[in-house]
Amino acid sequence: MNKQLIETNDVVVRFSGDSGDGMQLTGTLFADAAAFSGMGISTFPDFPAEIRAPQGTIAGVSGFQVHIGGGEIKTPGDFCDVLVAMNPAALKSNAKWTKPASTVIVDVDLFVEKEFEKIGLKSDDDIFAMLNLSDRHIICAPISTLTKECLAGFDVDNKTKLRSKNMFALGICFYLFNQPLVHAEKYFEKKFAKKPQFIEINKVVINGGYNYAANIQAIPNTYRVKKTGLPKGTYRNITGNQATAWGLIAASEKSGLPLFCGSYPITPATGILEELAARKDLGVKTLQAEDEIAGICTAIGAAFAGNLSVTTTSGPGLSLKSEALGLAVMTELPLVIVDVQRGGPSTGLPTKPEQSDLAQALWGRNGECPLIVMSAQSPADCFEKAFRAAKLAMEHMTPVILLSDGFIANGSEPWIIPNMSDFPAIVPPLVAEGTEGYMPYLRDEERLARRWAVPGTKGLEHRIGGLEKDFIKGSPTTDPENHQKMVNIRAEKVARVAKYIPKQEIIGNPAGKLLVVGWGGTFGHLYTAVGKMQEEGKDIALAHFSHINPLPENTEEILRSYQKIIVCELNSGQFANYLRMNFPNISLLQYNKVQGLPFTVTELVAKFNEIIDSL
């Protein structure tokens, strides 16, 4: 059969099914195949908080969106060109993410009364019409039946056979986008090295799906993504949590100090602890603490003992760590706190992204308690930002909160693998043995960092703690003048970090009509939206902040160079209000969304156009 090959710049595919259907793996294999063939990719897992909610229900639907393109891809895409729905619940909860005239592939074997009942439909309901999918190109594939048929010759039970039906769906998608099967097959060979039967099973099924798609009339066209070129280099895929862990390990190697991580498991931050726990070969010490407070307190103890110390958490955990953060500020020890933000307040939306911990990170402690607050903007960027957070913590002797979020933590993107020789040295102010007259709170004049004398070093015995310190000796004192001086110098120490961080960059013209301001994990969407409008000749620029406290030195100058400024965040305006506090005379517009979802490029473009058109 001759099918028409259509060329396209990029395509978005969303895999959805029951949380036991293996949709995360299916999506990952699809993304990897594209990446290995030199395309840009961005992925977004969208899964429920429950590990296995009741089968076939809306609560149990797990999704994985992949955006592939010929060039750089910065977001997982707003809406999909192809939706794979393994059951009616998956279709119902994902129909809203399909583009008009897009393709929808369903496992029609599960579009039966029993499954319909689980989502409140009757067997004769027209689910496609009810979900406004009438214009979509629906492919009703008997995926379950065909999977079993493919495996007729294998001596395994039906349940086991059906476990590979996701590979049948993946085979269909590989055909649809002219992607080779070789990468997925290699994965099976590695994954099932000890169970060769499963290598065969998965290969047979994925080929079955591929051939099925090639043969049926229902698929008239296939697509090829045009390669427009990526920057040269050796790439790998990386998720935000993995990159965060590796950035911290890199900082440990560069500083020559052992890495200690004290953490309590919490979604969506746990991946960092897991990644670090695996790296004993690089000397990483991890301690799975009894609670969040013990996580940070063990880290503070290890920092006192001369380690690069880290604790990783998410919003509710950061709340529990507040008092200990104050202790780290008071004792002026280096400490990195990674907060992988999720929807709040309270338990909130554990698996959904949000940027609503900013105010907590800035101010959520008793007393005048300044520390460095910074953020990572994409999965791969987590590496460089974690490295920088550790460098700043150690060289300035201060805790640093690094804000990530569930979107970039679990999302992945291709990353040009850097060389460690290209990264700067990290030189903590350690005190050498034999130093005479060590005073714990004597500071270097430039950074105002105190010096770090590690227990076990002869002759440097000293005592520090949470009580207010004498300005030089560090012994406890309630002297009023001294307290004022210490409050001021702790603030000044953090403020001076501005001299050691990069100036804020602008994407676009250095002055003009509209400046879009963002921070953290929304970078991909803001960058794509602004880029699109710049291509259309619109006078728009983007300032995406990584450093929040202190702000880059040129922040005010930038904000004064545009007619209108709009601050876009996945919260109710925390960064906007922070900027207003710092620059009270600059007027800011806001675009906020608190739905546990990332922005869409479409909604951003519409909003920005509305402002530009009004000027």
Binding site: K232, Y235, I249, R279, K280, T298, G301, S309, H462
Partner: protein
């Protein structure tokens, strides 16, 4: 060989406890024990690190001339754990009180004990909150009248030793603040023990709970109302060393008997075995209460087991000998990579 004297462990800070506070005697015992620990274990002074939480006792690190860290309320066990894992060569001492360790810090306390991390915990038990000026604590006896229990407490107290054994502790000792010699002896034993050592010091708060331990700690009655246990020796006590402990088989509990009466000889008396892995007898010993039975003092339990810090170090050493990735550069290049030219 390291030779130190008590004076080496005195800091230049003015000690600010109330006159007559039991903490002075504990400080003296620690300063007496440390030179002995250094001598027996060949430790340099710079290895000693004291960590505390919040409360009267937790001011302690300021008064010993070692590395010291004054933490926040209840978290000393967690901080001390981090210090030990971060730098396993250190001799880590945690100073805490009945409120700090057993109320706000209960969770960290039991988990430190469970992990058997090699830290030495000295728990000052005065059965009261002193620094906040006299509220009941988790070890205050039922009915204790304090500012927050003007009608007497209505809650049952913890027995610290019982918690330690319940959390699978490997070392527990109990001593009296005024018995500097016994305290020092327990602390030296604690330092020599690999694993979490908990030494409870029954301490007097002269201002808010004066005399709480007087019924057994006072010199005039101490010999009759306490028993000092020593490994391998019969459990004999009394001014004339004429009383001992036996098992009351009928009720499966400990019983005090008089040697020479009812045909009892020294041979019938239980011999203390602190190394018995079975905590049964140790549990009975820590739960002996005056006036029914003498209060047990000395090292009650000291059993060998692997320690958290050693296990961590061994895993790391093993992994480093056969690394999957020996450098960060190798790690970054692991798994699937591809090149765009």
């Amino acid at each position: 060989m390291s030779e130190y004297i008590s004076q080496d462990f005195k800091s230049d800070q003015e000690v600010k406890w109330c006159p007559g506070c039991g903490d002075y005697a504990i400080l003296a015992a620690v300063q007496k024990a440390l030179p002995e620990v250094a001598r027996q274990l060949n430790y340099e002074k710079e290895r000693f690190t004291f960590v505390s939480g919040i409360g009267c006792s937790s001011r302690f690190p300021y008064y010993v001339n070692t590395y010291g860290f004054h933490g926040i309320h209840g978290r000393a066990s967690a901080i001390a754990t981090g210090v030990k894992v971060g730098n396993p060569k250190l001799s880590v001492w945690q100073i805490t009180g009945d409120g700090d360790a057993l109320a706000i810090g209960g969770n960290h306390f039991i988990h430190a004990v469970r992990r058997n991390i090699d830290i030495n915990i000295i728990l000052f038990d005065n059965q009261i909150y002193g620094l906040t000026k006299g509220q009941y604590s988790p070890t205050s006896r039922l009915g204790t009248v304090t500012k927050t229990s003007p009608y007497g407490t209505v809650e049952h107290p913890f027995v610290p030793g019982e918690i330690v054994l319940g959390a699978r502790g490997t070392f527990f000792a109990r001593t009296l603040d005024i018995d500097v010699k016994l305290t020092a002896e327990c602390l030296v034993a604690s330092a020599k023990h690999n694993g979490t050592s908990v030494t409870t010091v029954l301490q007097n708060c002269v201002i808010f709970n004066d005399g709480t331990h007087k019924a057994y700690a006072d010199k005039s009655v101490r010999d009759e109302h306490t028993i000092v246990l020593r490994h391998g020796e019969p459990m004999i006590y009394g001014k004339d060393r004429d009383k001992g402990l036996v098992i009351d088989h009928e009720n499966l509990r400990l019983k005090s008997v008089k040697i020479g009466e009812n045909g009892i000889t020294e041979k019938d008396i239980l011999v203390h075995n602190m190394e018995n892995p079975n905590p049964g007898i140790h549990m009975m010993l820590v739960n002996m209460k005056f006036p029914d039975l003498p209060v047990a003092l000395g090292v009650i339990r000291a059993v060998k087991d692997s320690t958290y810090n050693k296990n961590v170090c061994e895993q790391i050493e093993r992994s480093r000998r056969h690394p999957i990735y020996a450098t960060v550069d190798a790690l970054l290049r692991s798994g699937e990579t591809w090149t765009v030219e």
